[in-house]
């Protein structure tokens, strides 16, 4: 009997104030290719994003592998098994290389795999080490589609794959490869839910859903997918990915380091910081650059605004990559520099306080930032208005440190 990979029951979902899905039911079993079709704005992407736990529901529930993952009462649980997802946006930051991105996706499924034949099938094997931003729009889409298919491609067990307009921007050859891959994966027992207008994809659908009713499509006779991945460790993947994002773009240096240098520069512009009265003012001057650095926030939070990378990661788990620990490093270095400028020597205790303060502030700003990610325009919201909340703790720490 076919395993139920995805079950959406009685879903009511709003986009803005309009109800897009109402009393919507859908089931994807292993071996299914369910193609959702319909006019623009009819709710195809809403179904995919609801299945991926990205949208809150007014009513109903979503289950992966018969385990609840999203409920209208607010419960949102990490799926018990990995699943593939390609959003309408590519969901990857431009500074990632193709290889790093796809290896990370495979690692999230607990596997590693030889990527060469897969990249070759989409004619992008020669760009393996290139960063995504250097690819054409169509090539970027190929990477996003491969990332969506990869969990199924590397897993032995039936895996759910959600693809939102995967064919958008692909050339004819790539669409042909895509349809072959989809059919093969379904033959191997994986289940695919695809939102698309493309006739080629509708032709291979074993079930066709127009958001009102479902009808049976063709029988899938494709050769089952044979490639399998090898088990790999996935420990600290969020930590490693976050630091790779930060280091590949030098965002930590550019955002946080620069904020600290600006504060130090402003102090130097006003005069000789070494003549600051000892005690509160001197300690405040020494710790101010680390504080400013922390207020700039986690650099990965800003990077992941690109191409809905944040949403892609949110769908995969409860947390997103972050440069945890970067604040300790930056805070420590800039406090050491400020110590040298202000008192002519490096006070280990102050360096330690600066490092912890920078990391703590960065973590707080990260939390504020994360709290607005469900908004339609998270970049347009004025979350930084709440940053003065950090001033009182900073002032209290400074006055405590001055007394040491």
């Amino acid at each position: 009997m076919a395993e139920v990979l995805l079950s959406i029951k009685g879903a009511e979902v709003r986009r803005g104030m309009g109800i897009v899905l109402s009393s919507f039911d859908l089931q994807v079993n292993s071996g299914d290719i369910v193609v959702i079709h319909g006019a623009n704005g009819s709710g195809k992407s809403t179904v995919i994003e609801t299945a991926a736990r990205l949208l809150p529901m007014e009513k109903g529930q979503v289950s992966h592998h018969q385990h609840l993952t999203l409920h209208s009462d607010g419960r949102r649980k990490k799926p018990i098994k990995p699943f593939g997802l390609t959003l309408q946006s590519n969901g990857v930051i431009g500074s990632e290389t193709i290889e790093n991105h796809l290896r990370t996706v495979a690692a999230l499924a607990g596997k590693e795999v030889d990527l060469a034949p897969l990249l070759e099938s989409y004619d992008i094997q020669h760009r393996t080490q290139d960063i995504i931003a250097h690819l054409s729009g169509g090539q970027q889409r190929k990477v996003a589609v491969l990332a969506g298919l990869l969990p199924a491609m590397v897993c032995d067990e039936p895996t759910l794959v959600l693809l939102d307009e995967p064919d958008a921007g692909l050339d004819d050859a790539a669409i042909k490869t895509l349809t072959q891959h989809i059919a093969s994966l379904a033959s191997a027992g994986h289940g695919l839910l695809i939102a698309s207008h493309n006739p080629s994809l509708r032709e291979i659908g074993t079930k066709l859903h127009n958001l009102e009713a479902e009808k049976t499509g063709v029988v899938n006779t494709a050769e089952p997918w044979k490639t399998r991945g090898q088990p790999t460790q996935t420990r600290n993947i969020l930590f490693r990915t976050g630091h790779r994002y930060a280091s590949s773009t030098h965002a930590g240096l550019a955002r946080n380091g620069l904020a600290a240098l600006m504060v130090l520069g402003c102090m130097l512009a006003l005069g000789d910081p070494s003549i600051l009265p000892s005690g509160l003012w001197q300690t405040g001057g020494i710790l101010a650059p680390a504080f400013a650095s922390g207020l700039a926030g986690d650099p990965t939070s800003h990077l992941m605004q690109e191409a809905r990378a944040n949403d892609w990661w949110r769908s995969q788990g409860q947390r997103t990559p972050s440069a945890l620990g970067l604040g300790v490093l930056i805070g420590g270095v800039v406090t050491a520099g400020a110590c040298y400028v202000c008192i002519g020597e490096i006070e280990i205790m102050l360096v330690l306080i600066g490092a912890i303060m920078c990391e703590g502030t960065m973590g707080g700003v990260r939390l504020l930032h994360a709290s607005t990610q469900r908004l339609a325009r998270p970049n347009a919201v004025f979350i930084r208005l709440l940053l003065p909340a950090f001033i009182l703790p900073w002032a209290l720490i400074v006055s405590w440190a001055a007394g040491l």
């Binding site: 803005g16 709290s371 004025f382 009182l392 002032a395």
Partner: protein, 234 residues
């Protein structure tokens, strides 16, 4: 008359606030010359204290509305949230501004970043500003309402914190003079009358403000529904 009650309340409140200003500056007795560093500046309290009181009422409305939307998805709750945020911002800014004026005269500095009362109240006002600006920057929808309601709920944690701040950590901001438990506080009768008129006026003003704001939000919602209907939405 019933349809214009909000405007009437707003007008009455405004007139009362202006009267308070006049009485506070012209009629209320002066404090003892040694009571403050800058005794004359104390008169701004007749505006500052009622404004802060009205801001707390608005923040309570904001919290109630946020809770009603978050837990019940009540449209009335969302209107209360919007009205509470706007009224809280208006009165919060009056309280912060007047407090800064007094602080500059009395303490020699308009703001003290280490005073818990000042910071928590300032943060509440910033939260109201964040909610007002944030709502304007986002398309109206359940996601934005949920997010802003969450901030409204968490923000209210600051209210009791702000209230008790001067009782626990009196750093710069003076402690309570009304209802402080010392036989009616340190206010003379005339001072108390002016302060009472101020509190009443600001309360009436804030109620009128909230009612008008709720009406505007309701009209915005009707307009959006009409537009959605024209666009062929469900």
């Amino acid at each position: 008359m019933a349809g214009r009650s909000a405007e009437v309340l707003l007008g009455l409140g405004f007139a009362g606030i202006m009267t308070t200003l006049f009485l506070g500056f012209q009629w209320a007795p002066s404090v003892a010359i040694d009571a403050f560093e800058s005794p004359a500046a104390q008169r701004i309290f007749y505006w500052h204290v009622p404004a802060a009181w009205a801001a707390f009422i608005a923040f309570a409305v904001l919290f109630t509305g946020s809770a009603m939307w978050f837990f019940k998805r009540s449209p009335l709750g969302w209107r209360l949230h919007v009205a509470g945020a706007e009224a809280g911002l208006a009165c919060g800014l009056i309280a912060v501004w007047s407090g800064c004026v007094w602080g500059a005269a009395e303490w020699g500095t308009p703001w003290d970043w280490t005073d818990v009362r000042l910071n928590t109240f300032g943060l509440l006002t910033l939260l109201a500003l964040f909610l007002v600006l944030g709502r304007q920057s986002q398309p109206d929808g359940v996601e934005s309402r949920d997010t802003f309601s969450t901030f409204g709920l968490f923000g209210f944690v600051l209210v009791p914190f702000t209230y008790i701040a001067t009782r626990i950590w009196e750093i710069r901001h003076p402690g309570p003079v009304v209802g402080a438990g010392d036989d009616g506080g340190s206010l003379s009768g005339d001072m108390a009358i002016v302060l009472f008129i101020g509190a009443l006026s600001f309360t009436i003003f804030i109620i009128g403000h909230i009612l008008i704001s709720m009406r505007i939000t309701s009209l915005e919602q009707r307009l959006e529904q009409a537009q959605h209907h024209i666009d062929g939405g469900k």
